[in-house]
């Protein structure tokens, strides 16, 4: 029987990544001066499991590497070795290296083991073994003989370990012709006998062509330490009369030959074929079999509780359905009350079911937060700062897709706080602050959104410097009167960076404008509050899920479109006095101090509206990335939550449209991509758009 090992790879990778996370967080909180037993045990177990799995599934590069890590960890946990901060660092680097190795293997890429070999060498140096030396050798094949004499004198309690001599004899019989003599001299009198004990011993002659001693050893492998077993080759003529080892033995010629199964005579197979210690040979062969599925985020681990809730809800739904079915089967008007009741139940069931299904996609934000302790530790070393990271609300749940996309912006903001926010220790001390700076990450739910705050007690934003820079760059006019808040917000403007030195840590190309844009693409927003000298708080607000959208239904001609509610600033009826028409350019709407380009949606989308007269028409002002445009529409309809469906599944992406949804009457309605529409307007010049030319 062949078992395809590749079918287990995915689970192995998943649990290995989890194991690496456990190791990492364990190592980060490990105090080399005062090692916590439970901590080091869990680190050890994680390494041990990865080693066991990788060896079993044939990933020898991982297995060899984790082997030395495990060995060192074992010595630490047994107390025979102390550990230094440098060694902890070595372990952390190794965790990174292993993660990369495993990711490469998971993606079926050619993996580069140079780093692994190098790190492994460092461990071997610490352990004092020769580099690359195998810790265990292949067991020697041992001598062969045409016949063996075996004296088997088991300890009395052998049976109580589940070892059964008869089974051993069966195995021996498979090796060759066997003669067994039982020695009952140790048998006590009946009254002195304990049923559980073994009082017999045996002498066995085993005859066959070239029986390896190792295959006999293997039969007794589990009992050799607690029993007397003497195995000697029979004389060449395999005479049955052998020198009795013990003078006291009383040979009783009882057992006849145990019949040898025909198949068992082919014993010239190498003993290691069936041996237990031969897995080393097996490993490379396993590596070739099958392929792990390339699967980055296609699967999700769901708490069993959530599934149970779902099943319960479906159960209720079935009950409601059958109730409604009964009412419908012989409906009379006096049952109308019951019908309404049933429909109410149905509505409630569906709503709860909907929520439960959405719950499945929700994961605690700790999945993202987990990598930050390590990052803060490494960066503060690199920057020569003392920083403590405080994490709160890591159990706050968030949609998996949102989570995957918020990682990079969070990393950027955190790096920014570490680099530009927190001061060097000596500066802090001079300011009368504690030497160690504190950066805190906090996540919580607030009215259908998740809020993530990154707070530091560092320098705060330099108000005057920001203003000066913005004026120099022409972002604001020289006489602009701005509140502190507006000035702080300038850091999110494209191309804005006040850092005096572009550092390795945060000032590399990507600016705060990208952070804001990424967050807006998720339907969220980011803001900053800061007090100079005291610190800053960046606050990100995100929708809990991307699959559902709060929408405004808007009609243009015969079509109904969905506007994301979050991007609507206001809607108003046009007063021509507010409109300035520029020849050859698009109309502008003067709204307080702003001039807002007017885009008739019917032109942009090429559809027939109720009216093309701008006078008294309805305009919806929307905003994306700080740019406002006014979209001319015919009618505002209801606001409702809509389920987002992809157009790309069966069709392709469409400019200005982010997806579609199905309305209550079963028809499809398209969801506007406000950022896309604004970009369309900017990209082709608002002129072209308003005159209805087709975009490239």
């Amino acid at each position: 029987m062949t078992i395809e090992l590749s079918q287990f790879f995915q689970v192995f990778f998943e649990e290995s990544f989890e194991g690496l996370d456990v190791m990492e967080s364990g190592l980060l909180s490990l105090d080399p001066e005062n090692i916590d037993n439970e901590e080091i045990n869990s680190i050890f177990r994680a390494a041990h499991s990865i080693k066991g799995g990788s060896a079993t599934f044939g990933f020898s590069s991982v297995a060899d590497f984790t082997h030395v890590m495990e060995t060192l960890l074992d010595e630490v946990r047994s107390g025979s070795r102390s550990i230094s901060q440098d060694t902890v660092d070595l372990f952390l680097q190794s965790v990174d290296c292993l993660r990369e190795l495993l990711q490469g293997l998971q993606a079926e890429e050619e993996v580069d083991t140079t780093r692994a070999v190098e790190l492994r060498g460092q461990f071997e140096e610490i352990l004092g073994v020769a580099p690359g030396a195998e810790t265990t050798g292949e067991p020697a094949a041992g001598p062969q003989s045409a016949g063996w004499h075996i004296v088997f004198n088991p300890c009395e309690d052998m049976l109580q370990t589940g070892n059964e001599p008869v089974r051993m004899f069966f195995q021996l019989a498979e090796l060759g012709q066997m003669t067994v003599r039982t020695d009952i001299s140790r048998l006590p009198s009946f009254s002195g006998m304990t049923l559980e004990n073994c009082y017999f011993s045996w002498e066995i002659d085993l005859i066959g062509p070239a029986i390896a001693k190792s295959s006999i050893d293997e039969v007794f492998e589990w009992v050799v330490d607690d029993c007397d077993i003497i195995i000697t080759p029979l004389a060449a003529e395999h005479s049955v009369t052998v020198d009795a080892p013990a003078a006291t033995s009383v040979p009783v010629e009882t057992q006849a030959d145990i019949p040898v199964p025909a198949a068992a005579t082919s014993i010239d197979e190498p003993a290691t074929e069936t041996g237990l210690a031969s897995a080393k040979d097996a490993a490379p062969a396993v590596a070739k079999t099958g392929a792990p599925k390339k699967n980055e985020s296609g699967s999700i681990r769901v708490d069993i509780e959530k599934i149970d809730t779902l099943i319960n809800m479906v159960g209720e739904l079935v009950i409601t359905q059958s109730m409604l079915g009964q009412i419908g089967a012989d409906f009379t008007f006096d049952k109308i009350g019951k019908l309404q009741e049933g429909l109410q139940d149905l509505e409630r069931n569906v709503q709860v079911l909907h929520e439960s299904v959405m719950q499945i996609r929700m994961l605690p934000i700790s999945f993202t937060f987990n990598r930050f302790p390590r990052m803060v530790r490494d960066l503060s070393r690199q920057l020569g700062k003392k920083i403590e990271l405080v994490v709160k609300g890591e159990q706050t749940e968030l949609d998996k897709t949102v989570m995957e996309k918020i990682g990079d912006p969070l990393v950027h903001l955190l790096r920014n706080s570490l680099d530009h926010g927190i001061e060097k220790p000596e500066v802090r001390v001079a300011k009368g602050k504690p030497e160690t700076g504190i950066v805190s990450l906090n996540a919580f739910h607030q009215g259908g959104n998740i809020i993530i705050e990154i707070t530091d007690d560092g320098n705060g934003l330099p108000r005057d410097k920001i203003l000066k820079k913005a004026q120099a760059n022409g972002i604001v006019g020289p006489d602009a009167h701005l509140t502190d808040e507006q000035i702080h917000d300038l850091i999110f403007q494209p191309g804005f960076s006040t850092a005096e030195v572009v550092s390795d840590v945060s000032g590399r190309g990507v600016g705060m404008d990208v952070v804001r844009r990424n967050i807006q693409e998720l339907g969220g927003h980011v803001s900053v509050k800061s007090k100079e000298g005291q610190g800053s708080t960046f606050s990100i607000s995100l929708p809990l899920t991307l699959a559902i959208l709060d929408g405004q239904l808007v009609r243009v001609g015969k079509q109904v479109y969905i506007f994301p509610l979050v991007s609507i600033i206001e809607s108003l009826s046009v007063d021509m006095k507010q409109v300035s028409t520029v020849a050859g350019a698009c109309d502008l709407l003067r709204l307080r101090e702003d001039y807002i380009p007017i885009i008739p949606l019917y032109d942009a989308f090429g559809i027939e509206p109720d009216s093309r007269n701008l006078e008294n028409s309805l305009i919806v002002i929307v905003e994306s990335e700080g740019v406002k445009v006014g979209l001319v529409v015919d009618e505002l309809q209801a606001q409702q939550q809509v389920v987002i469906k992809s157009l790309e599944t069966n069709y392709q992406s469409v400019e200005g449209i982010s997806g579609a949804t199905i309305l209550g009457d079963g028809t499809v309605s398209l969801i506007l991509d406000i950022a896309g529409i604004v970009k369309m307007a900017q990209g082709i010049g608002i002129n072209d758009l308003s005159s209805g030319q087709q975009a490239a």
Binding site: V11, H48, G53, T136, Q160, L276
Partner: protein
């Protein structure tokens, strides 16, 4: 049909063992640590126990000792799944009452051959 209890904290190992045994026609009960293993052993009368050594909550050696104290498991074969580096674990396991061991890593075929040795 013989019933086998497989105890390992690694899900992939458990899957591999379980799949292999089921393919060979055994009934398989799984557990992720020693405590779960003890519970499962009491609920199902198993003919063989395979157990990892290093596990959270309760390790395989403690579980073996506990199992041997149960009347149903006095003579039941218990095999430890040990790694080659765990030399002292072998004797520790034996002292706790384990029948023998299977050295990790092992191939499905090796697992079945070893099981034949005790259930044959």
């Amino acid at each position: 049909m013989s019933k086998i209890l497989a105890v390992d904290d690694s899900a992939s190992m458990r899957q591999m063992i379980s799949f292999t045994l089921k393919s060979a026609g055994f009934d398989v009960v799984e557990a992720a640590d020693g405590i779960e293993g003890l519970n499962q052993a009491q609920q199902h009368k198993c003919d063989l126990v395979l157990s990892d050594v290093n596990m959270p909550n309760m390790d395989g050696i403690t579980m073996t000792r506990e199992l041997r104290g149960l009347p149903d498991y006095k003579y039941t074969p218990i095999l430890m799944l040990t790694t080659e580096s765990g030399g002292d674990k072998k004797s520790e396991g034996k002292n706790a009452g384990a029948t023998g061991w299977i050295v990790k890593p092992f191939k499905p075929d090796q697992l079945l051959n070893t099981i034949k040795k005790v259930l044959g």
